[in-house]
């Protein structure tokens, strides 16, 4: 696993930490913040922050993996081409069979 991927995964764990595992600690009404009972405020806060966390993960992965990502794309393209070749061969075979 690349370093970018590992950092992104670490960021991706934050919503699980705050929105699942922290719940027993925040299950209370006080203090009321911006009109919301605390538990609801906490959930809304992290729901709202998650897109920004994911955007950060996206940027980090892209920056650190820059070259690697391109290599991967090239590799895929080659694979797809090979596959199309295979398909072509199969079709030819079918034709021969028919």
């Amino acid at each position: 696993m690349s370093q970018g991927r590992r950092l992104a995964l670490l960021l991706g764990f934050i919503p699980f930490l705050t929105l699942v595992f922290a719940l027993p600690l925040v299950n209370r009404l006080e203090p009321v913040i911006i009109g919301l009972p605390f538990i609801l405020f906490w959930i809304v806060l992290w729901v709202f922050l998650t897109p920004f966390i994911l955007m950060a993960a996206y940027q980090i992965e892209k920056r650190i993996n820059g070259d690697e990502g391109q290599k991967e794309v090239d590799k895929e393209k080659k694979k797809v081409k090979d596959k199309e070749k295979d398909k072509g061969n199969e079709k030819e075979k079918e034709k021969e069979g028919a």
Partner: protein, 481 residues
Amino acid sequence: MSPALLIILLTIIISAALGVYAGSRVKMNLENWTVGGRRFGVIIMWLLMAGEIYTTFTFLGASGWAYSRGAPTFYILIYGTLAYTVSFFILPAIWKVGRLYGLHTQPDFFIHRYESRWLGVLVAAIGVLCILPYLQLQLTGLGLIVEVASDGAIGSKTAILISFVLTCLFVYTSGLRGAAWVAIIKDIMMILAVGIVGIGVPHIYFGGFGQMFRVLMEKHPGHLIFPGASSNMDTLWVMSTALLTGLGFYMWPHVFGSAFSAKSAETIKRNATIMPFYQIPILLVLMVGFTALLVIPDLKNGDMAFLELVRVTYPSWFLGFVGAAGAVTAMVPSSVLVLFAATLLAKNVYKAGFAPEARETTVLRLSRILVLIIMVIALVLAFYYPQALVNLLLIGYNGVSQFFPGVVFGLFWKKATRLGVVCGLVVGFSLAATLVFSGHDPFLGMNAGFVALVINTTITIIISLLTQSNINNDESSKNQE
């Protein structure tokens, strides 16, 4: 004709016309019909996903739960956010495999990765079993919404029948592309309805949501912390349910399948980062439910809280608008659900199981016929046996979530084997069903489906490790990252 009635009828007719038009400009083949030709960009993907995620459950169910159960409803805010986070990591990989090997459906993925047609048939069968009650729920919800919103002018059966014909029409002609286009109308109306009512009602009755919550905390002090007004949905239940549904969300065959419709893996990733913003309207829906509890406290059926509150607060034409939004909100998910159920049956049960030589045009023709058959089944169930599928609905999420180990290990763990995944899936699904039907949900305070998922994962890992020796290590790892 009353203005409310006119708005409802116009909306569903224009929606269906747009859906038909969407498909009229492309030549229909299986690729175009099921995955929109794999050409959807960020915006249309976003609209389609919103179309699938906001079902009638969002309208009626979430506000109803907020009304009758209180705090446990917060899991809805949480699980969506978790689901999008998961999708950021797994969906691009699923898309890549799909693009490389021309996959259309979730069972296609299992067939490809584990090299077993019968595993594909099993996955397809479980998928359809979970989709059918969900589809019926959309139809029943639609009938209810239109009947209330039109003040009885259109009966629920008539409403279901009209929307059934129109939905079949645009699914038949345009496939997924039709659903994506109708989703545009639906999303705009839905956001308007939820925005106006969600911000409006706390303001009208209490001068703002802050005051509304203060009154609520005084009158019902337990309502807003777990376990709320429920007896068995405490913190542990919320945690396990949020995890189960968050991990399971993309395992729904139709949601999984829509990953294939994206233009690129990049599109999916960028889409995933903005998806959590979808959750904000749900917060507004919850506010409506809470306000309703204070304003109209004696409803027999909590699910009617949203519509009843609109009825007593706003003029009747606006109730019509909300009803119209509710109707298209049922039509879009219905169309996607029936489309994928039909494709699963045609491609992964009929073709993979019984007629491997069937050509793609045959599969497409069969899929289209199956759309009509499945919709008729759902219609009959909605009309005559509305309660028959409630049991199945209970295990919907628990059921599809059991695909999670097979998918994630399939993508990222070279050692996962066919036998491991089959055993995990069968045990997980049976256990979830047994616990739910024997009344043991929640089990030890946790969501029964979550318990089953943990055991499923454990079994998948252990049996995969035990069956390593039977595998040629080069072949099993061909589509790994």
